[in-house]
């Protein structure tokens, strides 16, 4: 397989381009996704290739962006809708939660809603409380939605292709602070199935389960800890719904210790769900210490960058948590 070194952002763009070349019913809609290229430049150049018919700028109207995507999906197209910041999903919630997610079930299984709602999530850009949230737990809670949260260029490309080909509404949360991070990605067509976690680092002493940007911070923490003789295993679930419980349980049985790291607020966060899954599994008997959650504090994301840093887990927080538990 020939590999190319590209950024996360380029990987997202390539996935969309390749799928749009492959299937003419795939199109992109969203705010400023055309000539402007999207708020983070993800779709830059796409309107030139596919035209305004398939790369559609919309008015600032998230309710109708998500609702029209659902309407177009149930009538035969495969929309990719971009929500400029994941925070704006609040405005699209009825269309997503009460409509798209439930249509198939409510209609007795006689409809499919193949749509992808892409949105950059997370803090770290000094953009304050309305442009920095991590709201994945809300979406995980809704039956009918799939929730994807890739952390690397390789994962984001393979998973976005799967999302576009999936016949269900998929919420695709991009990790905005790694948009410019490079990684190796095959030049050939490939897809990554949903529900398969990736062991980003193999270790034997402690399992660190992390999502989004926290995967990178956990890997950094693992390198620091390696020098102290602590061997950390880092697991990235990649998709939250469906969830690969098996890989996690296997890892916890091996290490006997689990730390869950996410950027979202601890209260009601996905980490609680992960902990409960482990407690209910056969891994419970192998736990040598209480499960620990390293997560965002329960406050809105502040503007001041020093405050912002203190609101969400940093590498040191993960290192310290591991030291406490080992």
């Amino acid at each position: 397989m020939t590999m190319a070194l590209i950024t996360y952002k380029e990987a997202v763009r390539q996935a969309m381009q390749e799928e749009m070349r492959r299937d003419e019913n795939v199109f992109l809609l969203g705010e400023d996704v055309g000539v402007y290229g999207g708020a983070f430049g993800v779709s830059l150049g796409m309107v030139e290739e596919f035209g305004e018919e398939r790369v559609r700028d919309t008015p600032i109207s998230e309710g109708v962006i998500a609702g029209a995507a659902a309407g177009a999906a149930v009538t035969g197209l495969r929309p990719i809708a971009e929500i400029m910041f994941s925070d704006f999903i609040t405005i699209a919630m009825d269309s997503l939660v009460n409509q798209a997610a439930k249509m198939r079930y409510m209609f007795g299984g006689k409809a499919k809603v193949p749509m992808v709602l892409r949105m950059p999530g997370g803090s770290g850009t000094g953009a304050a409380a309305q442009h920095s949230q991590s709201l994945e737990a809300w979406l995980v809670h809704v039956p009918g939605l799939k929730v994807v949260m890739p952390s690397t260029p390789y994962d984001v490309k393979g998973l976005l292709k799967t999302a576009i080909r999936d016949d269900n509404p998929v919420v695709f949360i991009e990790t905005k602070t790694v948009y410019n991070k490079k990684g190796e990605v095959p030049e050939e067509d490939y897809v990554i199935p949903f529900g398969v976690a990736d062991v980003k680092r193999v270790g034997r002493d402690v399992t660190v389960f992390a999502t989004g940007v926290m995967v990178h911070r956990s890997l950094e923490a693992a390198e620091i800890l390696a020098k102290e003789g602590i061997d950390v295993e880092v697991i990235d679930p990649r998709t939250l719904v469906p969830f690969d419980k098996e890989t996690l349980v296997k890892s916890v049985i091996k290490t006997g210790k689990l730390i869950i790291v996410h950027e979202a607020c601890k209260r009601g966060g996905f980490g609680g769900e992960v902990a409960a899954e482990v407690m209910e599994s056969e891994a419970f008997d192998y736990l040598d210490a209480p499960i620990k959650r390293v997560a965002g504090k329960n406050n809105p994301i502040p503007y001041c960058m020093e405050l912002e840093k203190s609101a969400v887990p940093q590498v040191d927080d993960i290192v310290n948590a591991v030291r406490e538990i080992v």
Partner: protein, 321 residues
């Protein structure tokens, strides 16, 4: 009157009467405690769904509302499968998963009744976009009430439909109430159609109890949409005979106003017209009534004799394979 023929008027009559008798039966069943949840009855508004859907085919889409039985029947929904859905049976349109507020059949172009006021508008816009994108000459029609035009989705949807010149017709059934709130208290305009001006699309107000007027107006708007001339807003002034849902006593309604509107019953109006134009005699109308009553009774029998959904299937169809 335009070119509405005798056959068309008689067809309209049959459709409107089917809706009315379906609703009368649903009211009776609900009052007897035989249907779960609640039902929002369309009685009094039959001319709107009937007049609009007369110009649609199965390739065209509609989005409906919580008060959706009329739209579904007018769009070709079968009363037996609808009744079975109200009874929560597996033979219902949604296998007993949706109920009155979620009946749908994508093959018939019915993208669902909807339990959320104002939620159909973005969906209708998306379906209209699909039609435009696939260049298939089909249109979508969004039915909604006066109060739904206060939702943000209404404004987002009309605006997007206008700037993208989508083949969608927004049909406001102004029955004067948002649940209990009188239109004069929930908006500061008399005609919802005025709102079209803000989006640069045609908007008209018509008598929603005159099926021929609804038919003519909708036919023009649908034909414009099919030709790529963009969306329209049609406001049909009408009145719901029952309360918001079956069981609501309608205390907020003025008794005299209710009485006046009952005299303007769209079905009575059509019966008079059919007789004045000598298109049908009393005996022929009675025959039609009996025939439709028979269909409704058969639908209830079908529903009653249908199997219940099985609890082990509760997780089926949450996700497409």
């Amino acid at each position: 009157m335009g070119d509405v023929t005798k056959e068309q008027l008689l067809d309209f009559y049959k459709t409107m009467l089917t809706i009315r008798k379906f609703e009368d039966k649903a009211a009776e069943l609900f009052a007897a405690g035989r249907l779960p949840g609640f039902v929002h009855l369309y009685s009094g508004e039959e001319a709107v769904a009937t007049g609009v859907c007369a110009s649609l085919t199965n390739k065209d889409y509609i989005t409906s509302t919580h008060r959706g039985h009329g739209h579904l029947i007018a769009k070709g929904g079968q009363v037996d499968k609808m009744m079975a859905e109200l009874f929560a049976k597996v033979t219902g349109y949604c296998k007993g998963r949706g109920g009155s507020m979620h009946i749908a059949d994508v093959d018939l172009g019915i993208l669902g009744a909807n339990g959320i006021v104002g939620a159909g508008q973005p969906i209708a816009v998306g379906a209209a976009f699909a039609n435009q994108y696939l260049k298939n000459d089909a249109v979508s029609v969004c039915f909604f009430g006066d109060a739904a035009s206060n939702r943000g989705t209404f404004h987002e949807a009309l605006n997007l439909a206008s700037v993208w010149k989508l083949p969608v017709i927004f049909v406001c059934e102004n029955n004067r109430f948002g649940i209990s709130m009188n239109q004069k208290d929930h908006m500061n305009i008399v005609d919802v159609s005025q709102r079209a001006i803000s989006y640069g699309i045609p908007g008209v107000t018509i008598d929603g109890n005159d099926v021929a007027a609804v038919y003519e107006t909708a036919k023009d708007a649908i034909s414009r949409a099919r030709k790529g001339e963009g969306p329209s807003l049609i406001e049909c002034k009408t009145w719901r005979h029952y309360g918001h849902f079956q069981g609501d006593a309608g205390l907020y309604k003025d008794a005299q106003e209710q009485e006046e509107w009952l005299k303007k019953d769209p079905i009575l109006k059509l019966e008079e017209k059919l007789k004045v134009l000598k298109f049908a005699k009393d005996t022929e109308l009675k025959e039609i009534q009996q025939q439709i009553q028979g269909q409704i009774d058969a639908a209830v029998e079908f529903a009653e004799n249908s199997p219940e959904p099985s609890p082990e299937d509760v997780l089926a169809d949450v996700y497409a394979p």
